[in-house]
């Protein structure tokens, strides 16, 4: 009996270790979703926005920068998505790996309707916590209302790609 208990505990330990590895390893190797890391963002207007406070919402985090042309291409699509899917519980956050002085004019130019941050080091750390080990932009993560990462996308998304992704998870708006 003691031997059986030892075997069972060993299996549980191995399973737990494998699971932890899956959650911490680079995302491209992981076939499963993982709980989103606990990250906080300080928005341009100085407010702290914790990801945990958005539990119950679909959250789309789009890491971007003003020096990244594919990132700028996505901005109008993100603004439209926030308009169209906000009623279905979508909250978009735009952490910029950039300086506030560079980001601020973009808010006006693209009429950005979701919270944006400007923190190079903090954005880079958060992006890597979400599994982007290359550090390249743009990088987009979709988190479900229970706080699990359901999509990660490195590289620009067209308006159609974004629409397809949101429809797949949130349904038609």
């Amino acid at each position: 009996m003691r031997k059986l208990v030892a075997i069972v505990l060993s299996i549980a330990a191995i399973a737990g270790g494998a699971l932890l590895y899956q959650q911490l390893a680079p995302h491209s190797a992981s076939p499963m979703s993982a709980a989103a890391p606990a990250v906080n963002f300080v928005t341009l207007d100085g407010k702290t926005l914790s990801l945990a406070s958005l539990r119950g919402h679909w959250v789309l985090i789009n890491f971007w920068a003003s020096w990244c042309a594919p990132c700028i291409d996505e901005l109008p699509n993100l603004v439209r998505a926030q308009d169209e899917y906000g009623g279905l519980g979508l909250k978009i956050i735009g952490p910029a790996l950039d300086e506030a002085a560079q980001v601020q004019p973009m808010l006006t130019r693209f009429k950005i309707n979701y919270p944006v941050t400007a923190d190079f080091a903090g954005g880079d750390l958060a992006m890597r916590a979400f599994g982007n080990d290359k550090g390249a932009l743009p990088f987009t993560v979709l988190i479900d209302p229970d706080g699990f990462i359901v999509e990660r996308h490195l590289g620009g998304m067209s308006g159609e790609q974004l629409e397809t992704l949101l429809q797949r998870h949130l349904g038609a708006h």
């Binding site: 059986l4 075997i7 069972v8 299996i11 549980a12 399973a15 737990g16 699971l19 899956q22 959650q23 680079p26 995302h27 491209s28 992981s30 076939p31 499963m32 979703s33 993982a34 709980a35 920068a65 020096w67 990244c68 042309a69 594919p70 990132c71 700028i72 291409d73 790996l97 190079f120 880079d124 982007n132 080990d133 290359k134 550090g135 390249a136 932009l137 743009p138 699990f148 990462i149 359901v150 999509e151 990660r152 996308h153 490195l154 590289g155 620009g156 998304m157 790609q161």
Partner: protein, 146 residues
């Protein structure tokens, strides 16, 4: 049986088997680390000129306008403006008329004054991949001996 039940319970508690793999041509597995995409070789000195070279991997490019060289510490050696070759002209919807470099990039920085002690240089550059991603500005510090 009990072991299997424990295993299922452990998996069910904190993971979901439906995350989609990364999509698109810009799969992270295909992207190079930034240091390999834009490899800055050791800076060389020939007389009064510092010589900088980058190996830019195929499918990647550097922006001409985002290359900077600065002396880190006060030095009797003065740096003149960097001499970059003509790049590939490109009109970007967001950045206007820009020039980019692909392949091997050589640049010179003429110096003035006495080169009698080590010089610390900070080199900054930024580029992107054709796959539709950009890398953050890179800053490399190199020390050149007299």
């Amino acid at each position: 049986m009990l072991g299997a039940a424990l295993l299922v319970a452990t998996l069910g508690a904190s993971a979901r088997p439906f995350e989609r793999p990364l999509e698109g041509p810009s799969s992270p597995d295909e992207l190079l680390p930034v240091a390999e995409a834009f490899s800055l070789l050791p800076i060389e000195r020939e007389g009064d000129t510092l010589h900088l070279s980058w190996n830019i991997a195929p499918g990647y490019y550097l922006y001409r306008q985002r290359i900077r060289v600065e002396a880190l510490a006060p030095s009797p050696l003065g740096l003149r403006a960097i001499r970059l070759p003509q790049g590939i002209a490109h009109v970007d919807e967001h950045f206007g008329a820009v020039q980019i470099y692909r392949g091997l990039l050589d640049a010179d920085v003429p110096t003035t004054g006495a080169f009698d002690r080590p010089l610390r240089l900070r080199v900054t550059y930024q580029g992107c991949a054709d796959a539709g991603v950009c890398y953050p500005p890179q800053t490399v510090v190199q020390t050149i001996g007299p």
